[in-house]
Amino acid sequence: MSTLFSIVIDGVAYGMVLFTISVGLSVTMGLMRIVNLAHGGFALLGGAFTHWAMTGLGLPFLAAAPLAIAMVMLLSLPMERLLYRPIYKMGELQQVLATIGITFLIIASVNWWLGSTLQSIQLPAFMSGAVNLGLRTLPTQRVYVIIAGLLVICGLYILIERTRFGIKLRAAVDFPGTAACLGIDTSKIFLITFALGAGLAALGGILGAEILPIEAYYPLRYMVLFLTVVAVGGMGSITGSFLAALGLGILDTATRYLLPDFGTVFFYFAMILVLGIRPNGLLGKSLS
C-alpha cells in the first residue's frame, strides 16, 4: 500500500516536471506546426540566465527566474523574425536540420559563456528540503512544480480556448490565407506564440533543474524526453501532453520502484504501443 502511494506521489511529481519542460514544445510544435528541436535550447537559456542572475548579479531566486524568462522571451523575438520565419515554410526534414543547427548554436554559446560544468540554481529556503505527507516525505520543490504545472495548463486552456487571441491563433494555424483575409495579423500572432513557447521552455528549464540539471549539453541530453511526451500526447494538444507526461511519469516511476533492473525499457515500450495504436498520439488530431 505504501509502495503504491509512493509510486503515485513520485510519479505525479516526476510527470509534472516532464510536463513543465515539454509544454513549450507542445505549443511551438503542436500549435504552430514546426518541428522545433531547439526547444531544449530555450530551456537551457532559461536555466543559464537564472544561474547568471543569481551568481553574477546576486539576485534572489524569485527575482532571477522571472528576469531569465523575460530575457529568453525577448531573445526569441529577433530569432523568430530572422531564423524561424524562413523555417516555417520548409518541409519537416529541413525543419529538423535547421532547428538542430540552432540547438548547436545555443549549446556552443552557453559553453563559451559559462563553460561545460553544471550551472546550479540555489533554491530559496522555503522551496528546498522536504515536506512530511504523513506516510512519507516529498521534496518541497516538487510541490511547487505541481502547482506551477497546474497553473500553466489552466492558463493555456483559457488562453487558447477562451480568448480572442486563442481563436485568432487557431485560425492562423489552420487557415492562414483566410485568416489574413479577415484582417488577422498572422505574422504577429506567430511571433507572440513563439515567444510564449520559448518562455514556457525557460520556465520548464528552471523548474526542472532539480532533476534535469542545467549544463551546456542539456538540449541534446534531454531532447528525446521532450519529444516523447509531445509525440505520445498528440501534436497540438496541451491536454494530451499533460496526460502523457503524467502517464509516462507514473509508469517510469513504477518501474524504478518495482523493476529497477529493466531501466527505461517500459517508458519507450509505452511510447511504441501508444504510437502503434494511435499514430497521432493520445489526443492528437490528424494532420491532414
Binding site: R136, P139, E210, I211, P213, A216, T253, R256, Y257, P260
Partner: protein
C-alpha cells in the same frame, strides 16, 4: 620490383621526422583529451595541471625543450582517438603521449603505442585492465577498486553494518559495486540490497525511497560525475534519508571539485573516498594551488588536474633522462615522489600509483564554500583491481 609496404614507408617517415625533432632538440608530447563536448571540462583540468607544472619548472626537461601538442578526443570515441594518435605519431612526430579520459579510448591506442614504443601517461582512464594491454602505459590517476575498497573499510570501522549499494548500471559502476561489496562483506558487513540504476535516470527519488524503506546504516553510491551525481545528491537530501539516519557514502566521483559547489547545503555530510581533495592540507598542495590560481584565478583543482600535474612530472623525468621508448618507461618504474595529493609510488608491476586514499566529508570551509575535508587516511593503497596483486 617490389614496392615498400605502407608501414615501412610510415616508419621511414617517422624516423626522418624524429631525426629532425632531435636536431633542434625539441621533444613533442601529444595530449589527447576532450576539449569540446559534454566532457570538455576534463580537457581544461588537464591543461591547468600541465600549465602549472610548466610554470613551475619551465619548458626545459634536462637539455630538451618540451612542446605539447593538444588533440581533441570529444567523448568516448575509440575510432577518433586512434586516428588522432596515428596523426600525432606520424605527422607531428611526438615521442610521448598523455591525457586520455575514457577506458575505450585508452584500449583503442594500446596496439599503436606498443608498435611505436611510445610511453603514454594516462591522466585519468580508470579501469585496471588498461595497463595490461601495453607495457608503455603509465597511470597517474586511480582505479575504481583502489578507492572503493577503503570506503568499505572505513564504513566497518565506523559502525556501519548494513548497506544498500546504488550504482549506475555500466562498467565503472559495476567495478565500484563489486570492489565495495567484496571488501565490505569480507569484513563482516551486510549488503542488503544492490540497486543498479539505468544510465539515463534523471529522477533518483524512487531509488532513494526504496533505499529508505530498507533502512540500512548507509547507502553506497557511484555515479558518473556531473549531472547524474548532482541529481542523486539532491534526491538523497530531499527525500530525508539523512534524517532517517542513513549516511551517504561513495567514491569521490560524486562530489568532485568541479560540481561540489552546485550541491549546496544538500551536499553537507556526504562521505566519499578518493585520492585527491583540493582541501588536502600539505605544503606541496598549497604551492600547487597558489600557482594554479596565479594562472587561472577562477579554476578549481580536482582529480583530473592532479592526474595531469603528476603525469607531466613523469613525462619531464622520462624526457630529461632518456631518449624515449623502453628506457623511458624503465627509468620511472618504482619511482616515489611527493605529489600535492600526498606520497605516491609508481608500482613497477601495475604501472599505476600506490597512493593514499582519503576518506573525506563534505563540510563548509572557512571561506564559506563547500570542501572535501579529509577525515581518515588509508596509506599506500595499491591498484586492487590488477590480477597480479
Amino acid at each position: 620490383m617490389k614496392f615498400p609496404s605502407k608501414w615501412a614507408l610510415a616508419t621511414a617517415g617517422l624516423a626522418m621526422i624524429q631525426s629532425v625533432a632531435m636536431a633542434d632538440d625539441t621533444v613533442k608530447v601529444g595530449i589527447i583529451a576532450p576539449f569540446s563536448g559534454p566532457f570538455a571540462s576534463y580537457g581544461q583540468q588537464f591543461k591547468d595541471g600541465i600549465d602549472v607544472y610548466v610554470a613551475e619548472h619551465g619548458v626545459m626537461a634536462g637539455t630538451h625543450k618540451v612542446e605539447f601538442v593538444y588533440k581533441d578526443s570529444g567523448g568516448p570515441n575509440p575510432a577518433g582517438v586512434k586516428a588522432a594518435t596515428q596523426e600525432l605519431l606520424i605527422k607531428d612526430g611526438v615521442k610521448y603521449l598523455g591525457g586520455i579520459v575514457f577506458t575505450p579510448n585508452a584500449l583503442a591506442i594500446a596496439p599503436l603505442i606498443t608498435q611505436t614504443k611510445t610511453p603514454t601517461v594516462l591522466f585519468n582512464a580508470a579501469t585496471s585492465i588498461i595497463n595490461t594491454k601495453s607495457p608503455y602505459f603509465l597511470r597517474t590517476s586511480m582505479t575504481l577498486p583502489q578507492v572503493s575498497a577503503p570506503m568499505a573499510d572505513w564504513a566497518i570501522e565506523n559502525g556501519i553494518k548494513t548497506v544498500v549499494t546504488t550504482v549506475t548500471d555500466y562498467g565503472p559502476g559495476i567495478d565500484a559495486e563489486t570492489a565495495f561489496t567484496k571488501e565490505f562483506t569480507a569484513k563482516g558487513g551486510k549488503v542488503i540490497d544492490a540497486i543498479r540504476m539505468p544510465i539515463q535516470t534523471s529522477d533518483f527519488g524512487p531509488f532513494l525511497q526504496r533505499v529508505k524503506s530498507k533502512a540500512p546504516n548507509a547507502v553506497f553510491a557511484f555515479l558518473p560525475g556531473g549531472a547524474p551525481a548532482f541529481a542523486f545528491s539532491k534526491a538523497y537530501s530531499d527525500n530525508g534519508l539523512a534524517q532517517a539516519g542513513i549516511k551517504a557514502i561513495g567514491t569521490g566521483d560524486i562530489d568532485d571539485e568541479t560540481t561540489l559547489q552546485g550541491l549546496g547545503a544538500s551536499g553537507i555530510g556526504i562521505i566519499t573516498s578518493h585520492h585527491y581533495s583540493q582541501a588536502h592540507d600539505s605544503p606541496e598542495n598549497k604551492a600547487f594551488l597558489a600557482q594554479l590560481h596565479k594562472l587561472r584565478p577562477n579554476d578549481v583543482s580536482n582529480y583530473a588536474t592532479i592526474g595531469a600535474y603528476d603525469g607531466t612530472f613523469l613525462l619531464y623525468k622520462m624526457i630529461s633522462s632518456t631518449d624515449g621508448g623502453d628506457a623511458a618507461v624503465k627509468s620511472v618504474e618504482g619511482m616515489s615522489w611527493t605529489s600535492p595529493r600526498g606520497p605516491v609510488k609508481l608500482d613497477p608491476v601495475s604501472r599505476s600509483l600506490d597512493q593514499n586514499v582519503y576518506i573525506r566529508e563534505v563540510v563548509k570551509g572557512a571561506d564559506g564554500k563547500l570542501e572535501n575535508k579529509e577525515i581518515a587516511t588509508y596509506k599506500d593503497v595499491p591498484d586492487l583491481g590488477m590480477p597480479a596483486h
